[in-house]
């Protein structure tokens, strides 16, 4: 089983690709290039959409360029998965 707390990107990618490709994603090395590992562009788009929805963020253009592996996506999530105030956003009122 994948633990979403420790491997959030892998857990979300399994949701995106569905049961048929889940075993491929489970076996991916954290640093493996996702596109070279058979994740097609449609799945990559769905994956980024899913991350943006779940973590309520927009992946900026520099981040998009650097997202190749499960590890890259985990780092991205770790950077954003904090309360809004920690990210310098202004609280209401």
């Amino acid at each position: 089983m994948i633990n979403p707390a420790t491997e959030p990107a892998r857990a979300l990618l399994i949701e995106v690709v569905g049961p048929l490709a889940a075993s491929t994603v489970r076996e991916l090395a954290p640093e493996a290039d996702l596109r070279a590992s058979g994740i097609d562009s449609g799945d990559m788009i769905r994956f980024v959409l899913a991350i943006e929805k779940r973590y309520r963020m927009q992946v900026d253009v520099d981040d998009l360029d650097a997202l190749n592996s499960i590890r890259d996506f985990d780092r991205l999530i770790a950077r954003h998965d904090r309360p809004a105030a920690d990210r310098g956003e202004r609280p209401c009122g």
């Binding site: 596109r35 070279a36 449609g42 959409l49 943006e52 929805k53 927009q58 998009l64 609280p91 209401c92």
Partner: protein, 365 residues
């Protein structure tokens, strides 16, 4: 009244973005969600029958559109072309994609992909021109899985055309270089070519009033809806007059039509194809015209249009598309719509399946 849509939660207020990152307004909740789908399907210019390939079943349509059965039924009721077969309903890929890109649903793969592709338009001009050292891996295979061997003729990209560089290619699959920019191979069904590149952009302004006028007219036709930007099947996109007669253009058809109009106005022009590198790494085509200052300028009406459609494009992006080229473009010395790689085998001649991936090269590598 249109105002930013705000979400209040846990003592904080967030502006709400749709799934593709565009900030939403109260207008988005004033209209039922399904209205944008209906608007999109009613504005669709269906793929002409001679070019139509209705082969996708319901499940594939639902996955592409990112919607549920209710929305799909609504689209059919409002004119989405569908063919009834003994195995069930079948849809044309381009009809679905073209409904999706205008749906404003934020959930469909074509719409999200297009927005991610254009996200760079919201960055600063410095980012558009930033040098990009990349390691590219280009995998090519015959489209027929039964192919055991065959001949290959592959043109390598030419980043030098825009001031960039391409390092030596590392070849697998028995391939050999045949001249500086060509790779050939015999007796194999697949090839892998790896090479480093340094991509550079180029900023330039069009001087010629004739070029500006011809370019501006095509862009305005697209922006004001006299021509509709849609994804087109291969045979239609490479026949710009047929695409024009249908009232639709994509990047290939637009580049060919623009080159033809420029030549009619006595301006030397041609088209070029390349790829735009990013998370979504796609084929693209543009026009190049000989300007009054003696240099060739890049004209990209389709990206200018997509920049105008993006919620947050930089104000200089529109002008940038008229003369300049971003460092995300990987150019080939090949005209729009022509193959960059050819394969022939016992199964016949074919355009191979091509996958290009890249990694940013770190300093010191």
């Amino acid at each position: 009244m249109v105002a930013p849509l705000l979400l209040r939660e846990h003592g904080y207020t967030y502006p709400v973005a749709d799934a593709a990152g565009a900030l939403m307004t109260t207008e988005h909740i004033a209209r039922p969600f399904t209205d944008t789908w209906i608007d999109s399907v009613r504005a669709l210019v269906p793929t002409p029958e001679a070019y139509r390939a209705q082969s996708l079943p319901d499940q594939a349509a639902l996955e592409l559109l990112g919607c549920d059965d209710t929305v799909l039924e609504l689209l059919i009721a409002n004119g989405l072309p569908v063919r009834q077969t003994a195995e069930g309903r079948r849809f044309d890929y381009h009809d679905l994609a073209n409904v999706a890109i205008y749906s404003r649903s934020g959930c469909s793969v074509p719409e999200a992909g297009q927005r991610m592709l254009m996200r760079y338009a919201s960055a600063t001009p410095d980012e558009w021109l930033k040098q990009r050292p990349l390691d590219l891996t280009w995998e090519l295979r015959c489209g027929d899985p039964r192919c055991a061997d065959g001949a290959w003729r592959v043109r390598l990209p030419r980043p030098d055309l825009f001031g960039g560089e391409r390092g030596p290619a590392r070849l697998r699959g028995g391939a050999r270089t045949a001249g500086g920019h060509l790779v050939e191979a015999d007796g194999v069904s697949a090839l892998t070519i790896k090479f480093p590149v340094l991509l550079r952009g180029r900023r330039a302004t069009v001087q010629s009033p004739v070029i500006r006028s011809v370019y501006g007219r095509l862009l305005n036709d697209l922006a004001e809806g006299r021509l509709r930007y849609q994804w087109l099947p291969g045979a239609l996109r490479t026949d710009p007059m047929a695409a024009f007669a249908n009232g639709t253009l994509d990047c290939v058809a637009a580049s060919l039509l623009l080159a033809r109009r420029l030549e009619d106005a006595a301006v030397p022009a041609w088209t070029r194809q390349g790829r735009v590198l990013g998370l979504v790494n796609v084929e693209h085509a543009w026009t190049e015209a000989l300007d009054d200052d003696g240099s060739w300028k890049v004209l990209d009406p389709v990206f200018a249009l997509l920049g105008r459609q993006a919620a947050d494009a930089h104000p200089e992006f529109d002008g940038f598309c008229e003369g300049s080229v971003p460092s995300r473009f990987l150019p080939w010395d090949v005209e729009a719509g022509r193959p960059v790689a050819e394969h022939s085998c016992a199964r016949g001649e074919s355009v191979p399946v091509s996958t290009l991936t890249f990694e940013q090269r770190r300093a010191g590598q």
